[in-house]
Symmetry: C2
Subunit: 461 residues, 2 copies
């Protein structure tokens, strides 16, 4: 620890844990992206808000860039430290601080994992409803920084809906208690909302008051095979009108082939282009009857080719695996991933156009589509041909992303649905946000972080 800046930091915060071993620098210096080599100055693991403030003040004085760090499960490079930054990991600040039954608020430190939040909520007979695959590793602070969504947004919304209050160390070192768990508070700008989704560029989230809700009612799971994209939209409208949907996920035949080849159980014939896993409230026989009637309506209209209703929890898990196993089944092929969003109604035209474009420009690449119909959120995985070198593939994919961004812009979409902009999407930000908006964002960033020490180079330069 010879860097004199670190010596000074240690002098200011004597009990601060600092890591400088190479293995730690690599471990904490990157997220799930692999395009940048981790090269942080060091890793700080503060144990208190006071230590976070000491770090931020020191960084301002010494002009050291900070990378706030949660579970680093993002796919946009938002938590990458590749240019000598100090990683500020919240992982030691992972406690539940309190619970109010009357307010249904769970107060936590930012470094707590999503799974630990689920368990704490459950221990009080309540639900924290945001959920997704990385739950065991990702942290609430990171969820807040990207406004994470997941598989039940259609029912519960994104992280934003569940934040009653935030404790933040702003880029200028000031401690902010934003909204303090109030339901109603019309006292000027809601800085809490500004912080949510700001990717660590305005402040370091150190704590949160999370709203909890009633546990979900019993649900039933259905798998559907559909003959075309328009049918997918019709069935979504039909089911949304008849049932209380908790999830409505789609994937293509290409995705299904991969997940079956990876060991998932064949629950349905794989001869249709689109598949849906949907989950809906099933409190009683009446609800189940309604679901069956909706299904039959869909078959009669020619929108549904085939379907399975899970008869047990284990069968529901089998159906869900067809959707949830896709990412893992593709991983060995090192796919190029994009996570985009559109208005729900804009999806069919966008998909038609994009699929035709990709087939014309990149016939040699396999493209796997899946995602959340109810949120307009599409995941695109492009697989490299077996004989293509990684560098050539990445170069092609950058061009694919440019095509994607241009097409999205024409259809009013967003280049990032839930992983943020970070480094990966930075070149494409203008496809989603206007010049005027970006100028305002730059201005806001300067207000919160006048010396530009918080996650510089992420979101925009």
């Amino acid at each position: 620890m010879t860097d004199p800046r670190l010596t000074e930091l240690t002098a200011r915060a004597p009990s601060l844990r600092l890591l400088t071993e190479l293995a730690d620098l690599i471990h904490y210096g990157r997220d799930w992206t692999r395009r940048w080599g981790p090269a942080p100055l060091a890793v700080a693991l503060p144990g208190s808000i006071e230590e976070v403030q000491a770090i931020v003040r020191w960084a301002n004085e010494r002009q050291v860039a900070l990378v706030p760090s949660g579970g680093r499960t993002g796919l946009s490079g938002g938590a990458v430290a590749a240019r000598g930054e100090l990683v500020l990991s919240l992982e030691r600040m992972n406690r539940v601080l309190g619970f109010s039954d009357t307010d249904r608020l769970l107060e936590v430190e930012a470094g707590i994992t999503l799974q630990a939040v689920h368990e704490a909520a459950r221990s009080h007979g309540l639900l924290y409803p945001v959920d997704f695959g990385a739950r065991g590793s990702c942290t609430i602070g990171g969820n807040i920084a990207t406004n994470a969504g997941g598989i039940r947004v259609i029912r519960y919304g994104t992280t934003r809906e569940w934040i009653g209050g935030l404790t933040v160390v702003a880029g200028n070192g000031e401690l902010l208690e934003l909204n303090r768990g109030l339901v109603k508070n019309s006292s000027g700008y809601d800085l809490r909302q500004l912080m949510i989704g700001s990717e660590g560029t305005l402040g370091v989230v150190v704590g949160a008051q999370l709203k909890l809700t009633d546990p979900p009612p019993p649900a039933q799971t259905m798998l559907l095979a559909l003959p075309h994209m328009d049918a997918l939209m019709k069935v979504f409208a039909l089911f949304r009108a008849q049932l209380k949907l908790q999830a409505f996920e789609f994937f293509t035949d290409v995705a299904l082939r991969h997940v079956l080849a990876h060991g998932a159980q064949r629950a349905i014939d794989a001869d249709q282009p689109y598949y849906v896993v949907t989950e809906y409230d099933a409190l009683d026989d009446g609800d189940e009857q309604t679901a069956l009637l909706a299904f039959e309506d869909g078959v009669r209209e020619g929108w549904i080719s085939d379907g399975v209703i899970a008869q047990s929890e284990s069968q529901a898990a089998t159906l869900w695996r067809l959707r949830e196993g896709i990412t893992e089944s593709l991983a060995p092929r090192k796919p190029y991933k994009n996570d985009i969003a559109l208005r729900i109604g804009a999806m069919p035209a966008f998909l038609h156009e994009m699929q035709a474009l990709l087939a014309r420009e990149y016939p040699q690449m396999e493209v796997v589509w899946f995602g959340h119909i109810g949120d307009g959120n599409l995941h695109i995985n492009v697989l490299p041909p077996e004989d293509m070198q990684q560098a050539e593939f990445i170069a092609h994919c950058e061009r694919v992303t440019r095509l994607l961004a241009d097409t999205l812009q024409r259809h009013g979409g967003s280049i990032s649905a839930e992983h943020g902009i970070g480094l990966v999407k930075k070149p494409y930000l203008e496809s989603t946000r206007s010049e005027a908006e970006i100028a305002l964002m730059r201005g806001v960033r300067t207000v919160f972080d006048p010396n530009g020490i918080l996650n510089p180079g992420k979101l925009f330069d």
Copy 2:
């Protein structure tokens, strides 16, 4: 129209409707507050976004202050033009621009009334769930500017939850299309959220994409009499756990006496200190049975003294009138109003302390409490003694508000639940927001409105 600045404005926007008659200046120059004399320069009634942009650009160049104006039903003076400002009324921009069934989005101009939005949603078989008494006069633009709440926040949240996209002319004249109706969009700061609740100080909201939802299920209404404040909180917890609450409103015996004296029908004996009107989903006999059991539990525990379940829609209306008629019943007495919020769990201690404080300091004044328990939102109406002059009364009330603000601060509350800060609450903003937060808000305001032409003097100086 001799003011040369107005001549120039007319030259730039030849078809802009401008009003300068005294009656118009008075009508458009104030909201429901009556503490400031309206004295605008003129009233502009733009008919298009281009005209709004022309006004904002002109105001920047000529350094004319603008007061964006909706239905002017606010109680914080946010829409008062008392210092030669140009009132920018959106009332002519009141059209429904579009509807998407797939996205469940209703696109409107900002000057549309809340009631017209309700009707448009209903015509598509859907619901825009924000609702309150001023629905016939207030506009969506104003609702957004204050993040209006109302009587069903416990079930549906505030206006913020229902804004899928905003079209805004920023203080610098730039047109912003914020979020464009996307469900998921993690592409930097959510400026839409920043705009909501900003009281016309960052931009002029000219349009919105409103989220719609399923119509509410059939509901049942119950009136309860309760022996003390703690019982009120116990019954709230009990009912929330057992029923799907749509509303849980309380008022005191003092409020009940006023509303009965004003002609409301006596549905219950007025000998208990607290009353509740609650509404909950009642889809079938099972739900009604559950409600009855919850009621009986409350009686057995000694938390409920008496109760009535409405047996018809007209009886439900009779019960609701006891709560909704309070404001009107107090109006002839010209009460001094405060609209505050706390965490739900903080309400009993706050109410005890505040009631004792008021009884000690102002024994001569009658204080009427009512509000939304489920949102922690309390309305306080202080009535002047019959023999007190208005000026003396106002002076006393300013002191009451100071006591209130100090007490709120200790209990972590907010000085404004749903009417904003405007002019009325400006002296008390620091009771709710820290110095550091206010400094950041000032900075943000400067980013959006560098010349300070948007609603200057509101929120903070």
